[in-house]
Symmetry: C2
Subunit: 462 residues, 2 copies
């Protein structure tokens, strides 16, 4: 048996203990966006540093102004690229909690009606399950061969779900330690349950929250209704005016920098057999919304969007309350593509919002830092090796895809550390990340570990 075959055999033999370790990590309530969960976030970092150290990777927890980083190294000047593996140990909030069938932090293996085994817990897919595929591959490699086939640096962050405020300062101050030849990021998905994929296009993102204020206090709607400004109506007007009747975003200059995909790329995507009926049918919908002259894959990968992730104002309790609230709120995120400039999009949005605010009312903005979209070089040598490794594991050609979500770290690696990134992940569309009952297929976890062993092995070859 070649050494890679022995590593794969060891992975298969030890799957149960790999799962035990993943479950331990999933039980930690590392919700980064909510200050209440600060201690569990630190504990998740400590847990990971301890795991890495145990398998022979020199690792430590590094403090930041926010949640800590974990950095590990296993290097000895081996030939082949020195790779940096990135993942995040923080997870999304779990509300609405009442929609979870089980406690989101009590992981379980369940069997779906079609026989598929799934790991159910918050973070099972995004991103604890995914990052543990790499950790377990490294564990098997070191246990079997005494080392990793290429030099490896590991970086785990704990603020990915809350805008990564500490990441850029940390990359800047640890530039020498973290600059490698290539980054590996496991926060993306497969094309489908059988077809592996590498993401070569990522949408960027910029966000904003608005607080619209009118009267100095809540008012009685019977007394002031019709005369006094109602912030609920103003926020609704702001939201309603963002799209025209054809689903296009109305902000001036919004489409500047959007790049039209070449026809041959569009043609390639046609062969992927993407079914919008299935994509939407899985979540109980039928008809695509949005720009009505675009295909759904274009929407997802190559078109910019704006969504209201939250809005609220006035009385939300049981019964009724005849009130005009003093303020109303909305949270917006823009997904960016091509060369769209996050700052310019934000500026245009803010000018638009201000134009909607009556003279005796005010608006406050709470910024969320933006990142532009990214496209990888199709001729990158590591891309070919990654494709081959995934093909060997899954027995199907690797799809080169775009991603609807944002992974700002990939842009930071490129701009700050000069590294290209291979985005390989094993998530699936029905993983319900960010939603109740998040899951990760057991196959994604098992074959994900095997895939990373193969990728590391391939990268070590000439």
């Amino acid at each position: 048996m070649s050494s890679i075959d022995k590593v794969l055999a060891r992975i298969d033999a030890n799957l149960d203990t790999s799962l035990d370790r993943l479950f331990d990590l999933l039980k930690i309530k590392s919700i980064s966006t909510d200050p209440e969960f600060k201690a569990p976030c630190r504990y998740a970092a400590e847990w990971l540093a301890k795991e890495l150290t145990e398998i022979g990777i020199e690792a430590s927890v590094r403090d930041t102004a926010g949640h800590p980083m974990v950095v590990g190294h296993k290097k000895s000047g081996k030939p082949g690229p020195h790779v940096l593996f990135y993942g995040h140990y923080d997870v999304q909030p779990v509300d609405p909690l009442e929609l979870w069938k089980n406690d989101p932090f009590e992981p379980s293996i369940e069997t779906k009606d079609d026989g598929t085994k799934i790991i159910v817990a918050r973070g099972s897919s995004d991103d604890k399950g995914q990052l543990m595929t790499f950790v377990e591959a490294a564990r098997a490699f070191i246990a079997e061969t005494g080392d990793l086939p290429v030099d490896v640096t590991i970086l785990f962050e704990g603020e990915e779900e809350s805008g990564s405020p500490s990441l850029q300062p940390f990359l800047q101050s640890h530039k020498d330690e973290l600059s490698c030849d290539l980054a590996l990021v496991c926060d993306t998905g497969m094309w489908d349950a059988e077809t592996p994929a590498i993401a070569v296009m990522l949408r960027g993102m910029v966000g904003d929250e608005i607080i619209v204020r009118a009267a100095s206090r809540d008012l009685h709607s019977g007394m002031y209704g019709g005369s006094a400004q109602n912030p609920n109506h103003i926020v609704a007007d702001v939201i309603a005016g963002l799209h025209d009747a054809n689903g296009k975003v109305t902000l001036p200059g919004f489409y500047d920098g959007v790049i039209e995909m070449p026809e041959n790329v569009k043609a390639l995507w046609e062969t992927l057999g993407f079914s919008v009926e299935e994509f939407l049918g899985d979540v109980g919908l039928k008809y695509p919304r949005g720009e009505n002259d675009r295909t759904p894959l274009e929407h997802l990968w190559t078109r910019p969007t704006v969504e209201v992730n939250g809005m609220w104002g006035g009385y939300q309790g049981a019964g009724s309350k005849t009130v005009i609230p003093a303020e109303a709120h909305a949270k917006f995120t823009f997904r960016l593509v091509g060369d769209q400039d996050p700052d310019k999009v934000q500026e245009s949005f803010r000018a638009y919002v201000r134009s909607k605010i009556p003279e005796d009312c005010s608006v406050e903005f709470i910024a969320k830092d933006g990142s532009p979209a990214l496209r990888l070089d199709f001729d990158m040598p590591a891309l070919e090796k990654g494709k081959r490794a995934l093909h060997d594991e899954w027995g199907k050609d690797t799809a080169l895809i775009g991603m609807g979500g944002s992974i700002p770290i990939v842009g930071d690696f490129k701009r700050m550390l000069g590294m290209d990134t291979l985005m390989i992940g094993f998530g699936l569309e029905d993983d319900q990340i960010h939603s109740p009952n998040e899951k990760y297929n057991l196959t994604s976890f098992h074959k994900g570990i095997r895939s990373w062993a193969r990728v590391l092995d391939e990268l070590s070859k000439d």
Copy 2:
């Protein structure tokens, strides 16, 4: 001294103990719209029945499907009209609690910078302070003269702030017991701190809550943004489309039944010296919103409106969450005037909302019963007596005004029990009813008690 003068002197002498009793009532957390406060609501009813019994009015708590009623009688076939006095012991919710300077259920007397003494607590004005003006007037009359000058029946309800679901059934089943010659309702205001008023026009109301549902679960906005329907956007579109650029409500047929006031009535209102700058300036606003060809008093008294009292969907916590929620909500109230039909307004609204819902989404409506607007007969004999009594107390002519808020009971009294209603109250515009730091002027309370004594006395005269 005539007996009315003795009664008034007794009221003055006992003001402190009157205040003690009001404070006891204000301490009871009788928030009717929130099921959590069921027990305090009952306790408030029991407290009132006990008070009435103590002063010589035969009273008892009457169960309903919701919060109980209190009914009391003091009658012996005296000449003059048999009057029914109505008030409500329930109060509005207190959120946002953090904006209250003191505990809303720990009443206190405070002195404003201009020397005005105010009673601060939830319900101090709406409606516990107001209803106690009548109770204390009755107490003084009975203590001084051994009886009331006219036959009196009292009805206190505990669901006025939550749509009065039990009221109509109760009136129906107690028709004989409650039908009197005239109703007295103390849930309205003065024209200003010096000028007494009787409300002769009341806007009606109808409400609706919508729940718009799209996907079967919350979605990741990076994955589904632009393709899947976002209920926040749908609800915002619904709200934004309710008004045109001139502030008119767009619903088909909405203005059917709206009555144009005669020019001489409008002219009379001009003499009231209403200042929109002060009205809005008091709450930190400058410019009137709404139909831009109407005066603010027209808006308040004679024009129909729609207001969103609450809206919410998606993530409201700290930080950001890139989610497309599965559902979004909004609560609407319409104020009605003239002969507008609440059912027709609701039907038109629902048809409009349905027209805005994409085919693969759904909307659920939660109805709030409506009541049409009301106008009193200017030649009603009791109106002249009420005007005279208030003039005697306040030393100024009584203004005959409209009311922006809704008091559906007045319509129920007319339609179900055949009674006209004299709406007399001592609330002021700056009482902040339904808002944090609700107050009732000490003068309103003191002279309010004296006013009711005078009204009862006047009504007993030929």
